[in-house]
């Protein structure tokens, strides 16, 4: 697999470039920037993130699990009379139920994000490109796989001239 890496000089040009490449049908288009660029998801025609649903699941688990745990421990498994209060004192269970909902939602948000992004990924072939290393500081890059079904060297070169960008690296396996 071979990937070409193209550098743009600012976020606005990268956004235009991502739009042009995506519109030209290169499904493997990916951009790299030191911070998220507003409007890039639309330019790359990405579907909305599903993370919200994962968090909803985590939160629902924490909420119900936390409440059931307190009910089972206080009112089923070992009942202890404390200040004559009912064993199943559901209003008193709310704070811990809430905290466990928050805790499980947060775990779902963080580890769900890792899963969707396939992190940790300590080896990636694009790390072989020295040019791409500035993407975490001040560089704005776009990559396309040569194996992309529509890939055509001439078309890409034309696009680059039009977009005023330059091809800075080629990464092979």
């Amino acid at each position: 697999m071979e990937t070409v890496i193209i550098e743009f000089d600012n976020p606005a040009h990268l956004l235009e470039g991502a739009k042009a490449f995506t519109d030209a049908g290169y499904a493997s288009t990916e951009t790299y920037s030191p911070f998220p660029i507003h409007g890039m998801d639309d330019a790359m025609q990405l579907k909305p993130s599903k993370l919200g649903w994962i968090v909803l699941g985590g939160g629902a688990f924490g909420l119900s699990g936390g409440f059931l745990m307190q009910w089972w421990m206080s009112a089923v498994d070992y009942e202890i009379i404390i200040s004559g209060k009912p064993f199943f004192s559901y209003p008193a269970f709310i704070p811990i139920t809430f905290e466990l909902m928050v805790l499980c939602s947060a775990f779902a948000a963080v580890f769900g994000m890792f899963a969707l992004n396939k992190l940790p990924e300590h080896y990636h072939r694009l790390f072989k490109s020295n040019a791409l290393r500035t993407a975490t500081s001040h560089g704005f890059f776009l990559s396309v796989d040569v194996q992309d079904p529509n890939y055509d060297e001439k078309k890409v070169t034309d696009l680059l001239t039009k977009l005023n960008a330059k091809l800075v690296d080629r990464v092979e396996d």
Partner: protein
């Protein structure tokens, strides 16, 4: 309508959040510098001092474990002393970090980007300091796992109806969520440091923690979503944590504690004290590390405004407590408050009032809000005042209870005092390590609010 809005926009002066002369590259350089420069001698001096205090804390804790809680100044009516005061003090300090990172994020307050990493680090270290105190005050520390619903030889479970147990869940959830929030924010910046690193060890270590981040937009998409969701759930969390801390007091039947104003009053006080601590630390750090173009006077002024608002809220709560004590017509409640202001602990009460209510009022003046010396002094006053607030609430309510025959005066012992002093060693040890080894300003977020980061920058719409 739009004409009016345009006119207003012209009048409202937008303050640059980052010095306009900075570029993306120079921001990376400024923030990376403390991690790359030669180890400064003041850092070593500070670190040695902090480590010494940390050792002091460990010795005090070892002595406590050996000897038992009798070495503390607790007596019969005052069964809760420095341990709870220090716990609430440290937890409260943490709240500013979450307010900045979560609540200000939801309100789209872009100025937060200059200070959020710093404040979140402070949150985590402050909560660690806080967690020490309930952990060691239980008497039989080897049974501290009874806090959690873990199976034990008695087959018993914790009492879920107790606010003290709610607190265990609240504070440990708070710590875990803050740590994850902080780490998620750090990932892109760790990758920045990894990609700049010149030594193999640095590349490896930062590389491991950066998890293979490479700034890809498909990553940013889920990342931003995760960040937004974390902010959205950390917001009610931070409000709940100090509310639950206040339940430790408010759910009991003791005059001076049993009041409904406690949850909002505690949350306001927590944010107040936390911002004071951020100002104390930030005034020094931006001077030493030359961060003036990223943490401008505008940032500090905004924090001082929050100190003014929350300080005034705290002052209102002090007044309202007195009003309710009188208006309730309840003799014991009235006595508890008159005793607070005029009794044997009046000195502590008036230290609290002058530090917390009077000193922040200087921030009504722009000159004071923008003067580094004045804001530093006031922030120290607020730190002191907020420690005394917890002391006043805890000790004055306990020392004269319903039966005059059991009244007593509480004074801390040297062990109490040195344990508290030692906890600052723990805090500053972590903090100095953070300043040296992690980016203390969120590099990617600061870049995101620079005008040239906007893809429509320089274009007319």
């Amino acid at each position: 309508m739009s004409v009016i809005i345009d006119k207003i926009k012209e009048k409202v002066k937008r303050v640059a959040l980052v010095d306009p002369k900075e570029t993306f590259e120079s921001v990376t350089d400024i923030v990376s510098k403390p991690m790359e420069m030669k180890l400064p001698s003041w850092w070593l001096i500070g670190f040695t001092a902090s480590i010494s205090l940390l050792i002091l804390l460990k010795v005090m804790i070892a002595y406590l474990f050996w000897e038992g809680v009798g070495i503390w100044g607790l007596n019969n009516p005052v069964g809760w002393g420095f341990a709870i005061v220090n716990f609430v003090f440290w937890v409260g300090i943490g709240h500013a970090g979450t307010l900045i990172s979560a609540i200000l994020f939801l309100f789209r307050q872009k100025w937060r980007t200059g200070i959020n990493r710093f404040a979140e680090a402070m949150t985590i270290f402050a909560v660690i300091c806080a967690l020490i105190f309930p952990g060691i005050h239980v008497g039989r520390q080897w049974l501290a796992y009874w806090f959690f619903p873990l199976p034990n030889s008695m087959a018993m479970w914790p009492n879920f109806k107790s606010p003290l147990l709610w607190d265990v869940f609240a504070v440990s959830t708070y710590f875990t969520v803050s740590l994850m929030f902080w780490y998620v924010g750090l990932i892109p910046d760790l990758a920045t440091v990894r990609d700049r690193a010149t030594s193999k060890i640095k590349q490896k270590v930062y590389g491991i923690f950066a998890l293979g981040w490479r700034g890809a937009n498909r990553h940013w998409q889920h990342y931003e979503k995760a960040y937004l969701i974390l902010a959205a759930i950390a917001t009610p969390l931070v409000l709940s944590v100090h509310s639950i801390v206040s339940f430790d007091f408010a759910v009991s039947q003791l005059p001076g504690w049993h009041t409904t104003i406690f949850p909002p009053y505690f949350v306001a006080g927590a944010i107040f004290s936390g911002f004071a601590m951020v100002v104390t630390l930030m005034v020094i750090a931006r001077q030493i590390f030359n961060l003036k173009s990223l943490v401008t006077l505008h940032h500090l002024e905004n924090m001082n405004k929050i100190i003014l608002v929350t300080g005034t809220m705290v002052g209102y709560a002090y007044g309202m407590e007195f009003f309710m004590a009188w208006y309730s017509g309840y003799e014991y409640e009235s006595f508890a408050f008159i005793n607070r202001a005029t009794g044997p602990y009046a000195w502590a009460y008036w230290i609290m009032v002058s530090c917390n209510v009077i000193s922040p009022q200087l921030f009504w003046f722009e000159k004071c809000r923008r003067s580094l010396v004045i804001m530093f002094i006031i922030s120290i006053f607020v730190n002191i005042g907020m420690w005394f607030e917890r002391f006043v609430i805890t000790v004055t309510s306990l020392h004269r209870d319903f039966l005059p025959s059991s009244w007593d005066y509480y004074s801390p012992t040297w062990v109490d005092v040195l344990t508290f002093v030692g906890s600052f060693g723990l805090f500053f040890t972590f903090f100095l390590l953070f300043l040296r080894f992690l980016p203390m300003i969120s590099i990617s977020e600061v870049k995101g609010v620079m005008p040239q980061a906007d893809p429509h920058h320089g274009k007319e719409h």
